[in-house]
């Protein structure tokens, strides 16, 4: 894919490195949990190639929790959070205890979903927020949507996208250390933001010379 020059790819990679690194540090402070985010892997591909890409990248999970959240602005697209279903329970232990009582007001399963939504919202918001901050723009978000089920039919993940469009995929593995919770975080950047992105990558580089 020659959509991006080598230099543009390098800048993009570095912006993501910094964004995800900053996000990690801020997450640790804000939610008081040590989070590890791996260096993001960036790929550019057609939407139609995505189902195969997901299939290759998500393996060993039988049933999954899937969360997606759209974001809009100059920089627009979707964030996807995917992890094995059984991890939902540990997330509730990690986040849900404290003020919220699973036995009183809420059945356990709906609590699990709500906690997932909150965690997903924070992870997606942290990463996208930092990218937007570095590239000097702002984004708005739709509420995240969580669903669970068999780990198959990845075509459904991207059925709302035009299959001819090009997407930038960023993949990172996140882990809540000491809690044995890890999952995959993908970002799909919409084609509309690619022109804007190219320009702001160079603006970003130039900003250091001020």
């Amino acid at each position: 894919m020659t959509l991006f020059s080598d230099e543009e790819k390098d800048i993009l990679q570095e912006v993501m490195n910094i964004a995800f690194g900053n996000a990690t540090a801020d997450l640790a402070e804000v939610i008081d949990i040590f989070v590890v985010l791996t260096v993001p892997q960036i790929q550019v591909m057609k939407i139609s190639e995505l189902p195969t890409y997901f299939e290759k990248n998500i393996h060993g999970f039988e049933r999954i929790w899937k969360l997606d959240q759209e974001f809009w602005g100059d920089f627009s697209g979707s964030g996807f959070l995917i992890f094995p279903e059984q991890i939902g329970k540990s997330l509730v232990e990690l986040f849900g205890t404290g003020d919220l009582d699973p036995t009183e007001n809420n059945p356990f399963d709906s609590l699990e979903k709500e906690i997932l939504l909150e965690v997903g919202n924070i992870l997606v918001g942290a990463c996208v927020g930092k990218i937007a901050e570095l590239l000097d723009t702002r984004v708005t978000y739709s509420p995240p949507i969580a669903s669970q089920g068999e780990c198959s039919n990845f075509a459904r993940l991207v059925e709302n996208y035009d299959s001819d469009q090009t997407a930038i995929i960023m993949k990172t593995v996140f882990e809540f250390e000491n809690h044995n919770i890890s999952g995959l975080l993908f970002f799909i950047t919409s084609q509309d933001s690619i022109e804007w992105l190219k320009k702001s990558l160079y603006d970003y580089l130039e900003s250091f010379d001020e």
Partner: protein, 125 residues
């Protein structure tokens, strides 16, 4: 006095940004390395007064490279450059012998502050 600076980072852009942010009027001699192993080799051949070390790199990461360099030269002046500045990460790299940490992305002002700090430390010795 800082004369020779080594920048160890796998990202060409990160190295470029770092060079852009360093003051141009001080006549620094700058060398670059693209991973931890190359960083150690360059350290031995160049003998820099100050090394900026990225932490996440392929082959050998910044933590191990810092540890190795400190083993060879306990006076090595290494500043870790990282975007992830949560206390746990900082603790780890400081324990391995880094002098201080530079938060990425660097800014001219934040870099200047660190250069002054390093300069002060070097003259005190």
């Amino acid at each position: 006095m800082i004369k020779k600076i080594l920048i160890v980072d796998d990202s060409p852009i990160a190295r470029k940004i770092m060079k852009t942010c360093l003051p141009k009027d001080r006549g620094y001699e700058i060398s670059e390395a693209t991973n931890g192993q190359e960083g150690i080799d360059k350290y031995l051949s160049v003998k820099p007064d100050l090394t900026f070390m990225d932490l996440t790199m392929p082959k050998l990461d910044g933590y191990k490279a810092t540890e190795e360099i400190k083993k060879i030269d306990k006076n090595a002046m290494i500043v870790a450059a990282t975007a992830d500045i949560q206390p746990k990460s900082l603790e780890r790299i400081m324990a391995l012998g880094a002098f201080t940490v530079l938060k990425k992305p660097p800014r001219k002002s934040s870099l200047e502050e660190i250069l002054d700090k390093v300069e002060k430390q070097l003259t005190e010795k």
